[in-house]
């Protein structure tokens, strides 16, 4: 999958690209089932909300076959190879649960300041790609993006150790207000299978989820091989040290995996 000139232009200008229904119903059904299997496990890679509900399953591609395929999926990997003009490796792979009723907030932040401060990532040549495993609606804690905010570069961030169980470098209210006054907020929503890529310096956050609708999303973080992290401080399952370039699998790899499982 290659991005079109229009998509490249949009990404440059807005800092994000949303591709609805990038994965089909069968692929989505598999990924949903596998995500449920993963989130039901008890292991150190799976972090929990203050109330005990699973919040984030890290490194699921290292202990789940379908996630492993997804981490090398050409619909995710090739656009980033194209954007960065070089090979990429998996910096992080996580399933964010945003559970029904109890899914907690992600405060406003850019991704790069955390990767820079905590992992020693030199430049903003990495990116998060979100794969929707459930329908993302306006009411179940959708990702909120501030379009064009990536143009501001890395903004002053502070280490938030209080809001949730996940330490994050977050932006202060005046900074967010200024960005939002200039650019507004968008919330790409849509059915499971949609894919959202956004620039490492794009300002984003998400509110809590009190609805009965879970909002599970896989985040694959791919980093340019020339931009490998230099001073990791977080566990290996949060910031991988294996910089081997991803080789994209076949476009039908998930379908084939389904066939193999059924056989």
């Amino acid at each position: 999958m290659q991005l079109t000139p229009q998509q490249l232009k949009d990404f440059d200008e807005l800092g994000y690209l949303f591709m609805p229904e990038c994965f089909n119903a069968e692929e989505v059904a598999l990924l949903k089932q596998e995500a449920s299997n993963v989130l039901a496990q008890q292991r150190p890679e799976i972090w929990r909300e203050k109330n005990g509900a699973p919040r984030t399953a890290f490194a699921a591609h290292t202990y789940n076959d379908a996630c492993n395929i997804l981490a090398s999926h050409p619909r995710l990997v090739k656009p980033l190879q194209q954007l960065f003009g070089e090979d990429v490796y998996v910096h992080q792979f996580k399933i964010n649960a945003k559970a029904a009723f109890t899914g907690e907030v992600w405060q406003w932040h850019q991704d790069f300041p955390t990767w820079h401060a905590d992992d020693g990532m030199p430049d903003a040549r990495a990116m998060n790609i979100a794969v929707f495993l459930d329908e993302v609606m306006p009411i179940n804690g959708p990702l909120m993006l501030v379009p064009r905010s990536h143009k501001a570069g890395a903004l002053k961030s502070e280490h938030d150790l209080e809001t949730t169980s996940y330490p994050l470098w977050t932006l202060d209210q005046p900074t967010v207000t200024e960005m939002v006054e200039k650019n507004g907020i968008v919330t790409p929503t849509g059915r499971a299978g949609g894919v959202l890529m956004f620039h490492a310096n794009l300002v984003h956050g998400s509110a809590g989820n009190i609805t009965p609708y879970p909002r599970r999303i896989v985040y694959l973080t791919l980093n340019s091989v020339s931009n490998a992290i230099a001073k990791p401080t977080r566990p290996e399952f949060i910031a991988h040290r294996d910089f081997t370039p991803v080789k994209p699998v076949a476009d039908d790899a998930l379908q084939r995996y389904i066939g193999k499982k059924a056989a």
Copy 2:
């Protein structure tokens, strides 16, 4: 203002009525300013979020002139007199701040169980009328309603003393899930000046607000005079003991107040 036959039918069926732009820009500007004045005060009627931001200003109609007019405004009072077929009195008047960035959740609940358990209100012949003081958007913690849920009557509720600073009788997750599976969720949104009335047994809640957009709403609770509370346990400013029927003011009373202030 009288409700039309269609509005009466919709209310009966869905359990709520939304009237966009019920108050004009001038009236809204006044109410916004007065709400800011109220919320800036330090007094026992003003409750705060865990972080100190104002959450709810109770009984503002007893210490703010514009709020006093609003509590007797015919656009709010007359529809309820019509629906209940009798006079009504002010059971509660509050400004809910849902502050920018820090506005907290209101868990799923019906209003009547709290009025019944805490105030000894005999029947569900009271109602909340919401007046939007800011634009209510999908992203700034809009009220979420479960249409038709009022038909289920008062559901089993439990006293939630933990989630926020405001004790509330709330519904458990299986009950909400069942209601939502049947009826879905709606979030009436729109510009300041909109008015939303909803049945005392309508299931509703609202998520936190992390956006820079505050979402202040006035809630006027009017109760039928024949349904006066019998066993109040909450302070007078939360559950009023003065059952004098409201006499609706003139429709242009807020406008006249603006003129008087300017003079």
